[in-house]
Amino acid sequence: MITATGWREELLSEESLRSWVDLLVRLVEAAGALIIFFGAALAFTRFISLTARRRREQEFTAVRLGLGRYLVLGLEFQLASDLLKTAVSPSYEDIGQLAAIAAIRTALNYFLGKEIAAERQELEAQEQADPGRGDPGRAVP
């Protein structure tokens, strides 16, 4: 007969925790990949639409801004999965490896975020300088 303590040990054993965390890591990674791919597909269809309608450079930049936001969000999910991987008794080697990967992803996230902010400011400055150039019906993602 399995006691209450036994059930607890069975449920919270390192092996079962590790398998649950592995599942969560895969789910979070899958979510990040879906976001990135969806953003890329959306941007690509918008590029086709802009080309067909012979739109201006600023509208291509606006679509790139939208794609950049999806990429940053996808990176956040990848960082979350990196953190989850350290959740259950990692070795020093695991931690070192993950630290290197997380550091590069964080740097990518930072530079992408800064660039998105700078391009957005540039776009807003252009629209303020020449409000008649833009398409009022253009949706900025």
Partner: protein, 87 residues
């Protein structure tokens, strides 16, 4: 990396090349086309990072992001120059 992720990354890369060609055709500006290409290459690189990335994938992506920053800085500089040249 799984076959699905590899295919998705490949699609993003192809999309980047096609998108760059379309942007060049529409705007006649190389920097705009380069920006489109690099954005989708970043997406492909991020997809390749999913799972257990190797150092080569990470450094390749870092290089693409750096190039993207240079292209964007060039585009912003071009806008400032054009704005300054206007009477």
């Amino acid at each position: 990396m799984s076959a699905v992720l590899q295919t998705a990354a490949l699609l993003c890369t192809v999309g980047g090349l096609v998108g760059a060609a379309l942007a060049l055709a529409a705007t006649r500006q190389l920097l705009v086309a380069l920006g489109v290409l690099l954005d989708l290459l970043v997406a492909a690189g991020l997809l390749r990072l999913t799972g257990d990335p190797d150092l080569r994938a990470l450094t390749t992506l870092a290089a693409v992001v750096l190039l993207r920053q240079l292209v964007s800085a060039g585009l912003r500089q071009g806008h400032r120059t054009a704005a300054g040249a206007e009477p």
